[in-house]
């Protein structure tokens, strides 16, 4: 499976295998693959900054205290092209986040998979129509 994807993506010209890839940072250096997290919380803030957007969620801890997690999302430029704006995210939305915690141990994580309580994919779920509304087309 993995091999096949690499082959396809290689054909897609995306994997510059011989290139010293200038990935803009090392995932492994920032987040810890040995610290997977799965948290559910309600959204309090959405920062549309580059290179990554950040979703702040309040997560209720076991002892009843509330912990604020910062969840990393893609560049807002990508999100704008999906049709999202700063107004798209309703505060209080409950989301479930699967990801990896920051290596420095802070309550910060990359959101590898982010869904609403009803299972809808987070960023796509924020758009008006099924899938991103394309320029000039009315929602179905």
């Amino acid at each position: 499976m993995r091999t096949t994807l690499i082959a396809v993506v290689a054909a897609a010209g995306l994997v510059l295998a011989a290139v010293p890839v200038r990935a803009h940072h090392a995932f492994a250096a920032e987040f810890d693959q040995n610290k997977p997290i799965k948290v559910q919380g309600s959204v309090t803030k959405w920062e549309l900054t580059n290179p990554h957007s950040w979703i702040y969620i309040d997560v209720k801890g076991e002892s009843g205290n509330t912990v604020t997690w910062m969840i990393e999302g893609a560049s807002p430029n990508n999100l704008y092209r999906l049709g999202l704006t700063k107004e798209s995210l309703p505060a209080g939305s409950v989301i479930t986040v699967e990801g990896y915690q920051a290596k420095d141990g802070s309550t910060r994580a990359v959101g590898r998979n982010i869904v609403f309580a009803n299972g809808k994919k987070f960023f796509l779920g924020l758009t008006e129509a099924e899938g991103a509304p394309k320029e000039g087309t009315a929602p179905q």
């Binding site: 807002p76 704008y80 704006t85 700063k86």
Partner: protein, 271 residues
């Protein structure tokens, strides 16, 4: 037949009319008419720079000691007259207190020290040149400082998709003046090194008016009801960089700000 009317009143009135006409004509005619681009617009293309101490302090100020004693007179604060019409920025009382705090701690708080994007209007009067590249639909302004840039939409005004450091600029012509309406700036920028600041409600309207072959008059009206008691205005000349092959170089200051930002995270050497 000569009467008082013909001898004094008529000539006097005629003279008065001539003077009045001359005054009307000179008030209507711009003192300088810039050459035109191929599409008939005033030509603002070029490399421009402010020559004042606005970036140190928009308000009038005497010279004062710099923040780094070891740099002595190399890096002390130069004196300058106010570029603010009326002299002072009209802060609301709470904001005035914050400004004082900002100013007292400017070396750690000023986003310029961190090489952050400067926003508008500060980008215009930073002590580095910027370049205007003018096309009919779009006017691009490229700033040497931090490679800051903004694109002014000269077509029908559009709405900002989000807030940004350099804001969202819609422009139009009013006679020989380029008017740029700037909205949606983040509240993270300052106006100068003296702690002048604003909120996310900032609205700036700039005016670029050619005043001679090599100078522009730059005006900016600043409005922010969360910080100021009324709109206020700055005004200054911008000077063309006329040397042969003048060019913006790189002032990619990120690497100069890194020690300030990340120095405390450096590995402590144990040997």
């Amino acid at each position: 037949m000569r009467t008082r009317l013909t001898d004094s009143v008529i000539p006097g009135t005629a003279a008065a009319i001539v003077v009045l006409l001359a005054a009307i004509v000179s008030a209507q005619a711009p003192s300088y008419r810039a050459p035109r681009t191929g599409d008939g617009k005033p030509n603002l293309n070029g490399i421009w720079q402010a020559l004042n101490t606005a970036d140190w302090d928009l308000q009038g100020h005497a010279a004062s000691k710099g923040p780094v004693p070891s740099l002595g007179a190399v890096f002390a604060v130069p004196p300058g007259l106010s570029v603010v019409e009326g002299g002072e920025i009209p802060y609301l009382p709470a904001a005035a207190a914050k400004k004082k705090q900002n100013q007292a701690n400017w070396t750690t708080l000023d986003p310029e020290a961190k090489c952050y994007l400067p926003g508008v209007p500060r980008a215009t009067y930073l002590p580095y040149p910027f370049q205007i590249v003018q096309s009919p639909q779009t006017i691009l302004m490229s700033y040497e400082y931090a490679g800051a840039v903004r694109v002014v939409n000269m077509g029908a005004p559009t709405k900002a998709p989000a807030d940004s450091w350099m804001g969202w600029s819609n422009g139009r012509w009013e006679g020989d003046t380029l008017v740029v309406d700037v909205t949606s700036q983040l509240d993270s920028t300052w106006f100068d090194r003296a702690g002048s600041f604003h909120s996310d409600a900032l609205h700036v309207v700039e005016r670029y008016t050619p005043r001679s072959a090599d100078t522009l008059t730059y005006e900016a009206t600043i409005e922010d009801p969360k910080v100021f008691s009324r709109p206020w205005k700055i005004s200054m000349p911008l000077y063309r960089r006329v040397e042969k092959d003048a060019k913006l170089l790189e002032y990619k200051c990120v690497e100069f700000a890194e020690e300030l930002l990340y120095g405390s995270l450096r590995k402590k050497s144990s040997n």
